[in-house]
Symmetry: C2
Subunit: 451 residues, 2 copies
């Protein structure tokens, strides 16, 4: 993973876990880390445009306060002194939260989102708000791909992916309703993690689609993803929030008791995979040999895309329709078309689409008895050229619909040398096992696969 290739002399190059560990040990101060991250932002922001709001002074003051706490010997959370970026659809008290729309520009939340409260409790410092597409849908924000500014960083969590990729921050948060974490992680070459549906409560985050919205994470190494355990579990307000998948760190960092088995699944969307992706996955399949089986999904999976679309458009029409009604001229065509489409979905069709998710999920139980994870592309290819589109989420859609935990791992490269994510998907609630399997896979490939 990237963290290993960057000299640790630059605090901004550290992963979140390692940074927190160094701060706790007194080997580095939170102020040094925040200053290093701000220096990276100074160097790169003009080119990358990852942020909509930054409070440098407040972040430095909080870092100093964290350093004082440490010196006083007070108990430190797992993210003590570590700065993070927050997608601008998640409410942070004292920072404007604009939801990527001019309609909400300058909106000041009265309360922190549940995620923010838990990040504060873990000791993290909210550095600022990262660019989102309009209402976390498809109309792009200003962010550019750090690997090639003429290309999209993906969306909708564009700024969080880009900021982590260019070391402005070791950890950032986004959301996924279709492919908004896994796809930008793939395009920007970070690790992306969408925990099981409901694992991290969404209270205080813009509701796009209550049945599909997930909180997700971006980091530069896989081990950092186990930090999500501090953010999981019901908050008593998000009615979609479920049981926590349980502690992640111990399992995620342990060796699998037996060598994991992987299922390579092309999915019904395979025709969307670009030539370079097909070739890169052919190499991956060859490298993994008998550790990977070619598996086909049961037939009804072809319908998951339509079911996902019925739910997403109907719920987004319900939740965002008032923006379109109130200020149509300040909404993109994309969001206006979405609301119109969602208003045309009948309630029985919507309910049918929702009813099928648990049925499909059960149909995968046999697969997850045999395999530790599904291997599939994170996106059709490298980040597309241009900034008008944030790319195609089709390789994420079924796993979001089913609420399964998913990772994007920056293990492959496309024909232009840009990152190409390998998506790993686990059984519902088995987030820890997914992280353990992913770590095993990364080590295996670092040993066996030519870079």
């Amino acid at each position: 993973m990237a963290a290993k290739r960057i000299p640790a002399a630059d605090p901004a190059a550290l992963g979140a876990r390692e940074a927190a560990w160094r701060i706790a040990e007194g080997a580095m101060s939170s102020a040094e880390l925040v200053a290093a991250c701000l220096a990276r932002i100074d160097a790169e922001e003009e080119r990358v445009q990852a942020w909509v709001f930054l409070d440098r002074d407040k972040a430095m003051a909080e870092a100093e306060e964290r350093d004082r706490r440490r010196k006083l010997g007070m108990p430190l959370g797992p993210l003590h002194g570590v700065p993070v970026g927050i997608k601008d659809i998640i409410d942070v008290k004292g920072m404007p939260t604009g939801n990527g729309s001019p309609i909400d520009a300058g909106r000041m939340p009265l309360e922190d989102a549940a995620l923010i409260r838990r990040l504060h409790a873990a000791g993290a410092i909210i550095l600022g708000k990262t660019v989102t597409t309009e209402f976390a849908y498809f109309h792009p924000g200003k962010t550019r791909n750090p690997h090639d500014p003429s290309r999209t960083p993906g969306g909708s969590s564009s700024g969080s992916a880009a900021a982590v990729a260019c070391r402005m921050v070791p950890l950032a948060f986004g959301s996924q309703t279709n492919g908004s974490v896994i796809r930008p992680a793939s395009f920007c070459g970070t690790v992306g993690f969408k925990p099981s549906f409901g694992a991290i409560p969404r209270t205080g985050m813009l509701t796009a689609s209550q049945s599909l919205d997930h909180v997700g994470l971006f980091a530069r190494n896989l081990e950092d993803m186990a930090l999500a355990e501090a953010l999981m579990g019901p908050d008593g307000r998000d009615t979609g929030a479920g049981a926590s998948p349980g502690p992640l760190t111990a399992t995620a960092l342990s060796e699998p008791p037996v060598a994991p088995a992987l299922a390579f699944i092309r999915t019904p969307a395979w025709s969307h995979a670009e030539e370079g992706t097909v070739a890169a996955f052919a190499e991956l399949v060859a490298a993994l040999g008998d550790r990977l089986d070619d598996v086909e999904l049961p037939e009804p999976f072809a319908r998951a895309y339509g079911w996902h679309r019925a739910i997403m458009t109907a719920e987004m029409a319900r939740n965002l329709g008032h923006y379109v009604d109130r200020a149509p001229e300040q909404c993109s065509d994309k969001i206006r078309d979405l609301v119109a489409e969602g208003r045309g979905v009948s309630a029985p069709d919507y309910l049918g689409a929702r009813d099928m998710a648990p049925v499909l999920r059960s149909s995968l139980e046999a697969l997850f008895d045999r395999f530790d994870a599904i291997v599939t592309p994170a996106a059709p290819g490298e980040a597309p050229e241009g900034l008008e589109s944030t790319g195609d989420p089709v390789f994420c859609t079924p796993w979001t619909y089913l609420g399964l935990p998913a990772l994007s791992l920056p293990l492959l490269a496309g024909p232009s040398g840009l990152p190409l994510g390998v998506q790993l998907v686990g059984a519902a609630g088995q987030d820890a096992r997914l992280l353990r399997t992913a770590r095993w896979l990364v080590r295996l490939l670092n040993e066996e696969v030519p870079a």
Copy 2:
């Protein structure tokens, strides 16, 4: 209450609690009770038509088995040896469950519903299946009102209400999606109880509308309703099932610590109340004096009827549409029209209607801080003449929409001398307090109000 007026010499006249107590004490056998109930059925069934299926031999055999258990000193449940009637939309293994439709006639369930398993565990004997309207909606079954066979017993739990009213069984079960427990209880002069939404799991019951379906009870005295506590609590399968409102008996049978305060609410449906109902409630209001305040609902309650209708029609279209598609000629016009209407509801409107229920529920918190229960009619008037209609559920609609616990108490009479229920509605989850308040009210009126 009725039980007090019938000589206890007839076991069929006993309430469920008292019958269970006598059986447990050895003062009466379960076989005697079942035989007495079967004798009542022999005497009345031709006139009342409450049952679609009865297994007399099996019921007698089970009664004898219950009597043997008692003699062996084995532990006895709270309904040990008591026969009950089950609405024919609730699955009982070994009995056909027809859902009130020729399409499902003779359908044999493979499993007991959650309610039935809990009834078995409590020692009850399933005497048979009672008449329901078609799919628990408006197209009537064969049952007649025991007080006047030219009139409807109400619906959709027609047979359960009528069977309890004419002492065929001390306790029977129905369901309510709009007014299907409270209305027939009012028309037949029984006590009807619809516990808080989700209190009794619905697994194994026909799903008409998953957001609105409630399990409900019919008995001839209020104290029997506390027996519902044995049936409450999540079963791990009904995803709509919530926490149990907690033990009922101790609170329900205790004296209120201070005299309860009641809120008389006419509701936006008051224009539906018949002249005799208006007069009877005027007398009740006068009799209760300052124990009752005249309260008006917040304005948005007028819209609860439309929101209830959007949810009910949309969900019933989703759940029952396949019957109409498969065998339209075996469906009534009422159910065909319902499915067509529900298919015309848009998903965003449906979601909006669902979102408003918790908002309205919160707007009642201040009311339930001040008042122990709402007093309102159970139905517009006495049971209407004729068997073509099961009457109007309009006085039940908002409380079903909100999932609040509700009772119908046979305290009043209409101009023809037929029963007129007083509906008591409690705060969500406060079923025990509702039962306690109702018991206090019944005692007060028996003392103070001329019969």
